[in-house]
């Protein structure tokens, strides 16, 4: 029998702690495939978040450090500035990047730090049991918005790519999703392009990945995919938000 598909070298042979139907496993694989294909594994120092991907260092087969909640862009700044020859990326969720860590996110982007951020947006705080996140949709029910997110009380979903796009330091911003194979292929292309952006020294790059969280959304995996396509993506439209990589 011929082996035609292998696990990427950049993934360890470990059991992931993600819930059934969660998108993180797919995204980890895409990141690992891109690292392998760009031959970056032995140059990589990654920063894991606090959130569902907190154990990323147990899954990725390269050097990874932890960071306090929301601080990966600052930690990555410290790593990249002192090690400009290394490949540095952060992997963060919506609460980490756009609530507690918003200042670190904006300023790392504004300084044009030559790092890449993989931002997984699943519209809630997954790790802590499904509370309202900065990206939770209007009307969406969560642990802390039991009657649905009310903009009068809770404000509006934050569109991080659009927010960052006004900053001179950002070089590449794209929003993708992984709800079907066609979009998974597009997501991989975006990750690879963002990584290449760093290799070419163009500045801050970020890929926002609209992902699903069936357990905390109270749905089956199939329902969560349907909700992503029909509801989630109505709020967060996919596409390249900013691309200065050819400048």
């Amino acid at each position: 029998m011929q082996k035609i598909l292998s696990k990427p070298e950049s993934l360890k042979d470990s059991v992931m702690s993600y819930c059934p139907g969660c998108g993180h496993g797919i995204i980890h694989r895409l990141v690992a495939e891109c690292i392998d294909e760009l031959n970056l594994r032995e140059k990589t120092i990654a920063v894991a978040p606090v959130g569902c991907a907190v154990f990323a260092y147990d899954y990725f087969n390269f050097d990874v450090t932890e960071a306090p909640h929301g601080r990966p862009p600052a930690v990555a700044t410290g790593i990249k500035r002192t090690n400009p020859d290394k490949f540095v990326f952060t992997y963060q969720g919506d609460g980490d990047i756009a609530a507690i860590g918003m200042a670190e996110t904006i300023h790392a982007a504004n300084r044009g730090e030559n790092i890449t951020t993989i931002f997984v947006n699943n519209a809630n705080y997954g790790m802590t049991g499904g509370q309202m996140a900065p990206t939770t949709l209007i009307g969406q029910k969560t642990e802390t918005s039991p009657f649905g997110r009310d903009p009068k009380r809770d404000g509006y979903p934050i569109h991080l790519c659009e927010l960052l796009s006004s900053l001179e330091g950002t070089a590449y911003l794209e929003r993708v999703s992984i709800y079907n194979p066609q979009n998974i292929i597009k997501a991989k292309k975006a990750i690879k392009k963002a990584f290449q952006c760093q290799i070419d020294g163009k500045g801050f790059s970020l890929v926002e990945i609209i992902s699903n969280c069936p357990v905390d959304w109270g749905m089956t995996p199939l329902e969560s995919i349907k909700w992503t396509e029909e509801t989630f993506l109505k709020e967060f439209s996919l596409g390249v938000i900013k691309d200065k990589t050819n400048v």
Partner: protein, 347 residues
């Protein structure tokens, strides 16, 4: 040759001689000379200076650089120190060496910008969450700002622990002659734990989330064993006229300078006074304090606070002799006369 400079600048010179790779900071008085110095010096040295968006970010940039084994530091003053505690707790847990400097000002809250010693508890009792210690150094001159900064990186790397220099606005701002007599350090040993990317070796991770049964407990026991070792090896203090002293003043930093003058004046008046000055606030020189606390001796602790280090002195002597306190908080300094009067009252 001695050069006249501020304590804050002497501190920077010490860090440069120690081979610092990166400085991350944020403006706050009275430590502003430090980021200003590095913003120029690091360009000349082709090393890293970043003015961060906050104290939180600056401390986390230090965490990142330290995780790759680089020599790195940040500096701040009291309100900023509160913000750095998150990253400091993580660095203690992750066992990352780094230098953090607190040029103390009056508190609580925004306080004022004069020197103070009211952050002692925060420095030696934790500051951030969890069961951890920092090595805390307390210079009392511009010369010691230079020397302690120089030594702090070796100390931090020896034990894989953040080192805190706890100084104050007066030591930081005061100009004194400094002998820049340290040999610049280079050729550092490779750190077998640092994240340098996994070329030719197994991947490494740096983490403090230890969820499996008993793993965190074991990690904490290991930390405590390290702290015990530091307590045995790294206590530093200075004694002055303590041999036959009946009244011993205990003071650190700027207060120790005033105390020394008061002790001299007391001796001129025939009072057998002496001084003990902790140079390390953690580990605390408890043993020497215990041995000085002989029957008939009185101890007097002088601080620019309403009494913080005095608690550790009382713990050290455990009721054996009286421990008196004199303090002043809110940005002012004790005068020699204040102290002399107190010494006379104890006689």
């Amino acid at each position: 040759m001695k050069i006249l400079m501020k304590g804050n600048i002497a501190l920077c010179e010490g860090a440069v001689a120690a081979g610092i790779d990166a400085y991350f900071g944020y403006p706050i008085t009275p430590q502003n000379e430090v980021p200003a110095y590095f913003s120029k010096k690091m360009v000349e040295l082709n090393k890293v200076f970043v003015q961060a968006e906050s104290e939180i970010a600056a401390a986390n940039m230090v965490l990142g650089a330290a995780a790759t084994g680089k020599r790195t530091m940040t500096s701040t003053s009291s309100p900023g120190m509160s913000l750095k505690q998150e990253a400091i707790s993580y660095m203690a847990a992750l066992q990352l060496p780094a230098l953090i400097v607190n040029v103390q000002r009056g508190g609580p809250g925004l306080g004022n910008i004069s020197g103070s010693q009211a952050d002692y508890f925060q420095a030696v009792k934790g500051g951030g969450h969890g069961d951890y210690r920092l090595i805390v150094l307390a210079p009392n001159s511009a010369q010691e700002m230079y020397e302690f900064a120089y030594d702090s990186f070796d100390l931090a790397e020896k034990y894989r622990i953040p080192v805190l220099i706890l100084t104050d606005g007066m030591i930081g701002q005061m100009m004194e002659p400094v002998e820049l007599n340290k040999t610049p350090k280079k050729d550092f040993i490779e750190k077998d734990w640092a994240l340098t990317a996994c070329k030719g070796r197994e991947p490494r991770s740096i983490k403090s989330l230890l969820m499996r049964d008993g793993v965190l407990e074991k990690h904490n026991i290991n930390l405590q064993e390290k702290y015990k070792l530091i307590s045995q090896n790294e206590v530093q203090y200075e004694t002055y006229n303590t041999d036959n002293a009946e009244i011993i003043v205990i003071a650190y930093g700027i207060s120790s300078r005033i105390a020394k003058s008061a002790v001299k004046l007391a001796r001129q008046e025939g009072i057998k006074a002496g001084l003990l000055r902790p140079k390390t606030l953690w580990p605390f020189p408890s043993e020497i304090i215990k041995s000085l606390a002989k029957d008939g001796t009185k101890l007097l602790v002088a601080e620019l606070s309403h009494g913080q280090m005095v608690e550790d002195v009382r713990l050290a002597v455990n009721g054996k002799v009286p421990v008196e306190f004199i303090g002043k908080a809110g940005g002012g300094v004790l005068s020699e006369q204040d102290l002399l009067n107190k010494i006379k009252n104890l006689k």
